[in-house]
Subunit: 237 residues, 3 copies
């Protein structure tokens, strides 16, 4: 970003972009009342923090969950377009509400700062992707999106194309005593993406064990068409 970034940085609402997932963060100090009304946002949140991406929903949601822990903001909207720029999964739109613009801005900054970490256990090639996410303590973004029990360990085990996810989720739940919160498949809980996933909760060690079991079975399956599937960043689980 050179010439163009200069142009965007002239806007007070622009917070930044992240190369991971082609993510962008913005802030609106005083949302217009007409937009408050059509989108159904509580008017006490006069400031918005906004995160959006062409590629990736899980990493952005995980990073936003960290931002919710660190700031005085609420999650107003998490929507998942069918995107990934020709890939098998989702993009994302996440809206934080705050009474003060500095809180909204801080939430966006914390999300962008944490985002690279949560691409660490995304493994991708031309055939699809695996995504694993873990936190020892889920907060309100994960509660809103996945119904995760707040303050407990949470995990996401996801494979795309969906066929791969089917084996990953079975391997995950067989490997450890975890509670399955929900699942996603092309026609259930996704935006017709080519994914199967489960979300799990429970004892921290068990959640990690389930995630690792899913990951280890997913990697050779995603590589089975002949392409390796490297991590998008640095694995953290």
């Amino acid at each position: 970003p050179t010439v163009a970034a200069c142009a965007a940085s002239g806007l007070t609402e622009f917070v930044g972009v992240c190369e991971f997932g082609n993510t962008q963060g913005l802030v609106i100090a005083n949302l217009d009342q007409a937009i408050h009304e059509i989108m159904g946002f509580d008017k006490k949140y006069r400031s918005l923090g906004i995160i959006g991406a062409r590629t990736g929903a899980g990493p952005q949601i995980m990073a936003a969950d960290e931002a919710i822990k660190a700031t005085n903001t609420e999650i107003l909207k998490v929507e998942l377009p069918r995107d990934t720029q020709g890939g098998a999964g989702h993009g994302s739109l996440i809206v934080f509400g705050a009474e003060d613009v500095s809180d909204a801005r801080r939430a966006v900054e914390v999300t962008l700062d944490n985002l690279p970490k949560f691409f660490g256990d995304v493994y991708a090639n031309d055939m699809g992707h695996l995504e694993l996410q873990y936190t020892a303590r889920a907060s309100k973004c994960l509660t809103t999106v996945f119904g995760a029990p707040e303050g407990k360990a949470f995990g996401l085990i996801l494979g795309a194309p969906a066929v791969i996810g089917m084996l990953m989720i079975d391997a995950a739940v067989k490997s450890a005593d975890v509670d399955v919160l929900d699942y996603g498949s092309p026609a259930h809980g996704t935006s017709f993406s080519n994914e199967v996933f489960i979300t799990v909760s429970g004892d921290s060690g068990a959640v990690r064990q389930a995630i690792i079991a899913g990951r280890e079975v997913g990697k050779p399956l995603l590589a089975a068409w002949g392409q390796d599937c490297p991590s998008a960043h640095i694995p953290y689980i």
Copy 2:
């Protein structure tokens, strides 16, 4: 289109293609009764004009609105696949009904003729696209699709990925006194596309002012990853 176009032009139903959006126009003189029935079309419209595209819905809808003004046809169907050939938005399928095949054909021709103009305020790069549309006088296609008041000025302000659209719509409504008709977001009023948009109505000057305000804030945001975002044709607003 050389060899292949010859083959298609041998079909009496083929009207033409347009390079903008990879759009194609067809006509069916006497639709089979079985298709009338399964698709629920009124049988008095024995002739159909059909427009379809891989990329773009707004431009085709705007051009079809011009066709409705100019011909004795009705809009029977407007459907928006999640497409754009790997991009963030929609494709389109628009069906005109007519009692006479010459009217159906004329509607398709007028649509194809007007289509390039309405790609004039589409700005795109690898990261996404902006789309702005304006007419001084909405007709029945815009009424059907967006609930636009007939005969009044109408505007569309759209940004993709959705994060960019959020700021564009706020800037638009802050800049002028317009009525917001509806909005679209990945999970509301779209086919899970990675877009946020509003449709607006009102005084002609105010509608234009809102559109221009949205456009000016959208351009630097779409360029913020480092790629410029040129118009797909010649800006008309």
Copy 3:
């Protein structure tokens, strides 16, 4: 597939991949009870056969229908993501249930073996695709997905982008006396794909005639932007 295929083939659950549609087949001998429950599968089917693809739903469904005829299995799930790796159509996830793992494995093998045939009347270029499918005797996979009368001739006539499908289905029903079972369009019976299709049943000769009529009108339309549209394999209809 060299190094990577070795890795996958070390998994007892891995059955194979097929280059057509980037399809993969797996088997799970004893599905975990937690997955049985969240996905709502009858627990008597303790073994699953799983087929999934980034590209193509019709060919995989047709091949799975052959597998149902040849094995002691049931169809538990057929889901169609909006995929095709940037194209206009669907991917697929098909789950067979069996009481015995050898039946589940056999169903996956038969599906993979039959898959190339059913890509024979898929015609594609950068603009879209045509898909034609025919069987003299529909079985339970086609019954489940399309409501096809079991044991009768069945046909699928599909064009993408949707505009092309509109003319193909009209030409098909005009050419022969067939029963139209259902249709798909971007907003009806698809996952927002850019397709229009019908499914037909009836006398074997009539079904074939309808399919061929649809195919012949579709080819020049898909080529009308200037690219030829070759078969993905060897035409069989």
